[in-house]
Amino acid sequence: MAEVRLTGVSKAFGATKAVSAMTMTIPDGAFVVLLGPTGAGKTTTLRLIAGLERPDQGDIAIGGASVLHDTPAQRDVAMVFQQYSLYPHLSVRDNLAFPLRSPVINMPEAEIAKRVEEVAKVLRIAHKLDNKATQLSGGEMQRVSIGRALVRQPRIYLMDEPLSSLDAKLRSDLRIELKRIHADLGATFLYVTHDQIEAMTMATHVGVLDQGRIVQFGTPREIYEDPVSAYVASRLGQPRINMLPADAFGPAPAGATSIGLRPEHILQGEGRPATVRRVERLGDQTRLLLVLGPHELITLADPHTPLSAGDAIAIRPLSPLWFDADGHRIQGA
């Protein structure tokens, strides 16, 4: 378990800058989630820390010492790839034991067997241990791939969308399991995901990436409630934040060009008249698609709301987020 520090790290592939001047500290024992669209540099960041890519500039330190000249094996990190790359010529058991048999760890076979059984039980693949890696379903492969990281106790776990191909039930179970491992072992995680729930429930810190740069780093609540830009604000929130011209509801603070409204920023029952275009009943929540003049916006309503398409409803903003022409947040407005 160790702190990981990136200082001014840049990496370009040809003309594409995957990561530019990234500075970030992953505190010891933290669970850091990286958010960002495809191409923002999330995976490259993981590969740089793992040692699969060499940075063009900058320094990477694990546990206080630079690892720039260390091989991936020497860095003592575990990684779960997005494309779960199980060794196809080995059984599930041997796949899980593979890291423990490495010359770096070289664990006695009896202990390997015990560790493999433990991890297999946690990931519910114990009954598949003697299968060939190629005879598994996608979800099972993904779990073996996670298991191959969890058998070890590396200085940091790097995970690249590890739960993306699992079904909803398994995903929520493994979310809890990963969180438990994090809490029990005090392990350090750097975790890439697109999933808002994973980010909000597991992360101690969230880093939002845009074109290879960290644009905001903070707790999930900070990122959600106090985003520095419209880009960050749009990364979290289900349904997504509504972006409207600043004057949609009347006077705006100086410099503001747009107003950002999360569902909780929309007070229903007073203010401007809007029309309900569609009502989506999701069970635990109900989404309203509203039309306000030329604009559309999505908000939430009571699950048992009597509203239906065509109804009129009055709305007004309630302490919304304001952004300037460049998308930067106007603080304190």
Partner: protein
Amino acid sequence: MSAYSITEPSRRAKLVAGVLVCLYAFITLLPLLWIISTGFKSGPDSISYPPKVIFEPSLEGYVNLFTTRTRIAPEALAELPPPETFYDKIVRERDMVIAGPSRFGERFMNSVIIGFGSTFLSIFLGTLAAYAFSRFKVPLKDDLLFFILSTRMMPPIAVAIPIFLMYRELGLSDTHLGMILLYTGVNISLAVWLLKGFIDEIPREYEEAALIDGYTRFQAFRKVVLPQAATGIASTAIFCLIFAWNEYAFAVLLTSGTAQTAPPFIPTIIGVGGQDWPAVAAGATIFLLPVMIFTILLRKHLLRGITFGAVRK
């Protein structure tokens, strides 16, 4: 109307395909059957016209292949003690006695040493080179690969005389090492290109995962890449062996005594009063066996798809 599936061929199509396959197999196997049967014919049967399909089998060809014989006068033959072995008996029926073993065994072993030796060396060097070309940034990679391929564009016999002179100067003429190096040189281009294709298809993620799991690059190569390249290595090895095993022109030119392989030796088997066709056919039959066995042993690896589907693409 009976149920039918779009993907399943109809009964009639299957029948036609089956007949065609059998016909093709028969045409392909006919020369092979001819050689094998000739090996078991007696001398007169082997040259009879029309050719005999049904004949009395004889081991004369095989006995003649492995022995040298001398003709002696019938009176002298009568004075000898009765034949001890079946081959003594066969030879005496033709008024001859066995003078000693022939050189066939030796030549056959030369073929084995040179064929398998050059195959091993081609695969060993080819795998390492193909891995480097597939995974590393090699300067002038495309030019080098083309250069390697270009060694195959020229007919080997075009360089026969320079190689003959070079080998004479270097003392490699008529040596096992010389023939192994020569066949490796010819095969290496095929090995590098074929193996590079196979290694290119093995996703890098496997090695990356192994690197992170605590292995060095060479260990990752040995434990992860090699097992998955087994299919490609096996099929490349078969191609290399077939070439080295069957090669005739260089073998005639560069070997005569110690390192002569079976291909130039077999046609020189001459019996009394002309070509000993049963012995030649017997030699050819035995000569076919190693490649056949090697191919059957590696057949399992030739079936592709062992590694299919473990990486999400």
